[in-house]
């Protein structure tokens, strides 16, 4: 259970960073929706899990936050990438690609058989 959660935490962090990279500043709900949409609705998790992940990234200094007003005039907390966050996106993405590439080699023959 725990390992799964850890993987989820790691990938979620990367998804958040990548989303913020692409979309600029965005509130928690927006990020959650965006991740859902990007995954083609294949990923359905509780939106709530995104908040601890956001807090963790903020504590690590990869993102910042401030209160703002949404398009439809609602008060919301907006998150944005910091400089360190931008670098982290690249690093994480590279690491992730490497990991998946390795895992693919392990998984590929099995799928064939």
């Amino acid at each position: 259970m725990r390992e799964k959660a850890d993987v989820w935490q790691g990938t979620l962090a990367l998804m958040i960073l990548k989303t913020l990279e692409g979309m600029g500043a965005l509130h928690g709900y927006g990020i959650a929706r965006r991740i859902e949409q990007t995954s083609g609705d294949r990923l359905s998790v509780n939106y709530g899990t995104i908040y601890p992940a956001l807090l963790k990234l903020e504590q690590e200094g990869y993102i910042g936050s401030e209160w703002g007003v949404s398009d439809n005039k609602r008060k919301a907390k907006y998150y944005h990438l910091t400089r360190a966050g931008r670098k982290q996106v690249e690093r994480e993405a590279r690491d992730w690609q490497r990991t998946t590439a390795i895992l693919d080699r392990f998984l590929a023959p099995e799928e064939q058989s």
């Binding site: 709530g48 200094g61 907390k77």
Partner: protein, 887 residues
């Protein structure tokens, strides 16, 4: 770095106020509002939109909780919670808390006290010096009481030849008179090799240490370094002291430095007031020319091992060098030439040579006391846990994990232990000074600067936490393994702790009794050994003897004039009313200073490498009579043994028996101090180093022939010795009005100093034993009383069925008796095995002394049964009617 930053932020998150909580609520609210709006835009009704939004969020409170966990540090947060809760629980039971804290404070305090002593002696042997771990003491054979020393020429050769040492220093410790403007003051000085301050890496507070050139020309380096305390006291901390001239033994010296405040010399426990180069030996000391005489071994040696060199390697090299010297100069090396190398924690130069045995022993015993205290508190906790069973059962059934319950109980224990440790440190702040109180006031420069420092504080903290875990773990794991269902179904108070718990408390009591017996046996042995030492006749009578000393050398006397002075003084003293007899000596038996002579004995051929170093004293006429040391044969020195008559000597019985067995020692010749003397008397052997020592050979030389400028005057008086001090001083001043008189003391006090360690050990082990007795008594009383109360109902039933009061008494006492016997048996077995480790500190008594064992076991058994008797009486008074209705 990122991890650290996040961790710090989370640590800060523990203490966040409401602002962040409000922020979180607002964010959740805004999230839901955005989602609901979206859902409604997709055509849902408001209620459905809200429901769907909540579902996909996964619950507002759950999200908040997960968020909070990430915000703070959950583990730390629960720890804080547990601490706050534990604090409340402990405050609610002030009686229990006080008892437990007090018990622990005594147990921990015993340990921190002894540790503070170890810390400032064995662990910090030379305050003010750097990296003392590399420094060792080097002796030429000898024992802890009398480490063999080196001559200056040998020292120079060893220093030149060694590769094992990065620096080798030599020094001598001696009294000096600071003369000049004010009244002369006696100081304890060291004349040292010029590299002294460099070897110990002591950076002077002001000015400099000594330089290599000051090691070269005899009499050519009239410079001195002052002790910081002396500089403050005598010179008012004058910042322009460097370059000033002072007079030591009437000889001018230029002050070149002030030592740092912490540095008091390199012999643990002894204070050096002033340092001068050894090249000034002729100026500060009378007598022989030690700078050139290879046969005069007067210097202590300490050195810093070169990096990577072990003590064994250094010893090997030094032995080789020493052998070489012995072959080269056989005339001056017929004595002991084996080299001994000691790390400072057991260096024979200074107090550690004695402390390193006694202090670890006391530490072990204090550890035992603490274990006993742990057992007591564990029992208290077990008893109390019964009344908390329901509380814990409820928490378990509400879903608290067993680990969580256990952690909370352990936090409580550690809190108790920390409170105990806090009180213990307060106790230590006072008790640490008691070590110095054991040393009678004396003019000898004893300085034990013992302050509980940061190390002691940390040790106290560590001991407390470990203690809390030790006594807490058993009760906590018991409580956490409760079956909540069974307990909640129980009627309150109808069932005692259950069989397993009863067995556990009984085992704890047996262990307690066994440990106390061990402690009491140790205490008994120490006290008996000490008593014996006190009762032992040291071979002379130390009562009613006044001692004092003076030094004629700085006053400018030649040896000729000095002898005349001594003769006149003795004549004056014996004529004084109230003074029965008077004599002189350069060292006294059981004093702290000693003389050793390398001797040749007529007709005795030493074996290869046999040590011919023999303890000696130069004594005046009538010395044996004055000390009341019986003369076995021949005569003692008289005023007629003068420098122009035949050189004479006396030996003790042990020397005569060992070297001239079955021969008449009278008329034999003995070579010492560079000349042959004829034995004219044999004295009975007495104690020279400490009470109850093994008999050792001893040589007496006549003070009027082998002159010393600074003798000790001894006078046997009628009444209190110190009341005669003014009369003695007056007699001296009638001969020379300016001569300072030092070290006035009673001989009995000097002898008391010789048994300081036995008194120290006896007192503390005795106190620990008493503490153990109290703890064990309270322990067994608590358990028996508690179990008797738990069995009130059972007793009621028994009585209703016809048991009479005596049966009840037997029932309760029987339980106590079984526990006591088991405890005593285990304790006796333990003691038999363990007390032998004490034997090196027990003089004149066997480590398995049957009298001690028997008395202590009987005492403890009696007290334990007494502790059971009270609850038994109470049980006897149980009214069956009342007991049976008891719920």
């Amino acid at each position: 770095m990122r991890q650290l930053r996040a961790w710090l932020l989370r640590l800060g998150g523990l203490f966040t106020g409401r602002g962040r909580e409000r922020d979180l609520a607002a964010e959740m609210e805004s999230h839901l509002a955005l989602h609901i709006e979206d859902n409604m835009r997709r055509g849902m009704l408001p209620d459905e939109a809200r429901r769907q939004a909540l579902i996909s969020l996964g619950g507002v409170e759950q999200t908040k909780e997960r968020y909070r966990d990430r915000r703070g540090l959950p583990a730390l947060e629960t720890l804080l919670q547990d601490t706050r809760y534990g604090w409340r629980v402990l405050r609610k039971n002030p009686g229990f808390t006080m008892l437990a804290v007090l018990t622990l404070a005594l147990g921990i305090g015993a340990n921190t006290t002894i540790f503070s002593w170890i810390d400032s002696t064995l662990l910090n042997p030379i305050p003010g010096a750097a990296q003392t771990g590399d420094i060792v003491s080097i002796t030429r054979g000898g024992t802890v009481d009398d480490p063999g020393e080196f001559s200056w020429p040998d020292y120079l050769d060893l220093r030149a030849g060694t590769r094992s040492f990065s620096g080798l220093a030599a020094f001598q410790f001696r009294p000096l008179d600071l003369t000049g403007t004010n009244k002369p003051e006696r100081l304890w000085g060291a004349d040292v090799s010029a590299n002294y301050f460099d070897v110990f890496r002591v950076r002077p507070f002001l000015g400099r240490g000594f330089v290599a050139a000051e090691d070269e020309k005899p009499g050519g380096a009239p410079v001195a370094v002052l002790n910081y305390g002396l500089w403050q006291r005598r010179f008012g901390g004058d910042p322009h002291i460097i370059g000033r001239t002072i007079f030591l033994n009437r000889h001018p010296f230029t002050v070149v430095g002030v030592a740092p405040r912490a540095f008091h010399g390199t012999m643990t426990g002894l204070q050096t007031d002033i340092w001068v180069p050894f090249m000034m030996q002729q100026q500060v000391a009378s007598g022989a020319d030690w700078i050139h005489d290879r046969g005069d071994n007067e210097l202590m040696m300490q050195g810093r091992l070169a990096p990577g060199v072990s003590i064994e390697q250094a010893r090997g090299e030094m032995n080789l060098l020493m052998q070489h010297l012995a072959q080269q100069f056989p005339d001056s090396h017929f004595g002991q030439n084996q080299v001994g190398i000691y790390p400072l924690w057991r260096s024979p130069n200074g107090a550690n040579g004695h402390f390193y045995i006694v202090l670890p022993m006391l530490m072990a015993i204090a550890g035992l006391v603490l274990l006993l205290a742990c057992a007591n508190v564990a029992n208290l906790l077990l008893v109390r846990s019964v009344s908390r069973r329901r509380e814990i059962a409820i928490r378990l059934s509400m879903g608290a994990g067993r680990g969580r319950v256990m952690r909370q109980l352990l936090v409580e224990s550690i809190q108790l232990a920390l409170a105990g440790g806090g009180v213990a440190l307060l106790i230590t702040a006072w008790s640490t000074g008691t070590l110095a109180d054991f040393i009678p006031p004396t003019s000898f420069p004893v300085s034990l600067a013992i302050h509980p420092d940061r190390t002691v504080l940390l040790a106290g903290l560590a001991i407390s936490i470990v203690t809390g875990l030790i006594f807490g773990i058993l009760p906590a794991s018991r409580s956490a393994s409760l079956d909540p269902m069974a307990i909640l179904k129980e009627e309150t108070g109808s069932i005692s702790g259950g069989r397993r718990k009863a067995r556990l408390t009984s085992a704890l009591v047996v262990a307690q009794l066994a440990m106390s017996l061990l402690l009491l046996v140790a205490a008994g042995l120490f006290i008996r050994a000490f008593q014996r030492a006190q009762q032992t006749n040291p071979g002379f009578n130390p009562e009613h003897v006044l001692v004092a000393s003076f030094d004629l050398f700085p006053a400018g006397y030649t040896s000729e004039q000095g002898r005349e002075f001594d003769r006149q003084l003795l004549a004056k003293l014996t004529a004084l009313p109230g003074i029965q007899s008077a004599s002189m000596a350069d060292v006294m038996p059981l004093g702290l200073t000693r003389n050793t002579e390398m001797v040749k004995l007529e007709g005795y051929v030493p074996q290869l490498h046999e040590a011919m170093d023999i303890r000696s004293a130069a004594v005046g006429p009538g010395f044996l009579h004055m000390m009341q040391i019986p003369l076995v044969a021949g005569r003692e020195f008289t005023a007629n043994d003068r420098e122009d008559t035949q050189q004479v000597a006396m030996v003790n019985q042990t020397l005569a028996d060992r070297y001239w067995p079955n021969e008449d020692p009278l008329g034999k010749r003995i070579w010492a101090e560079g000349h042959w003397s004829t034995v004219v008397g044999v004295a009975r052997t007495c104690d020279y180093d400490r009470l109850d020592e093994k008999p050792q050979p001893f040589l007496y030389l006549p003070l009027l022939q082998d002159y010393t400028s600074h003798p000790i005057v001894l006078a046997r008086v009628a009444g209190d010795p110190l009341s005669f001090a003014p009369a003695l001083e007056k007699a001296i001043h009638e001969l020379n009005a300016d001569l300072p008189v030092f070290d006035q003391d009673s001989l009995a006090v000097r002898v008391e100093i010789a048994s300081t360690l036995q008194r120290l050990a006896g007192t503390f082990v005795g106190a620990f034993g008493l503490l153990a007795l109290i703890l064990a008594t309270v322990g067994i009383y608590g358990v028996i009383a508690y179990s008797a109360r738990q069995r009130t109902r059972e007793i009621g039933i028994r009585m209703a069925l016809g048991a009479d009061r005596r049966d009840v008494m037997r029932l309760v006492l029987g339980q106590g008796l079984r526990l006591t016997l088991a405890g005593l048996a285990l304790g006796l077995a333990l003691s038999l095995v363990l007390t032998r480790f004490l034997s090196s500190a027990l003089f004149g008594i066997s480590a398995t002394d049957p009298l001690t064992f028997g008395t202590v076991a009987a005492c403890l058994g009696f007290v334990a049964l007494g502790a059971c008797y009270l609850p038994a009486r109470r049980a006897m008074g149980v009214e069956p009617n009342v007991a049976l209705r008891l719920q």
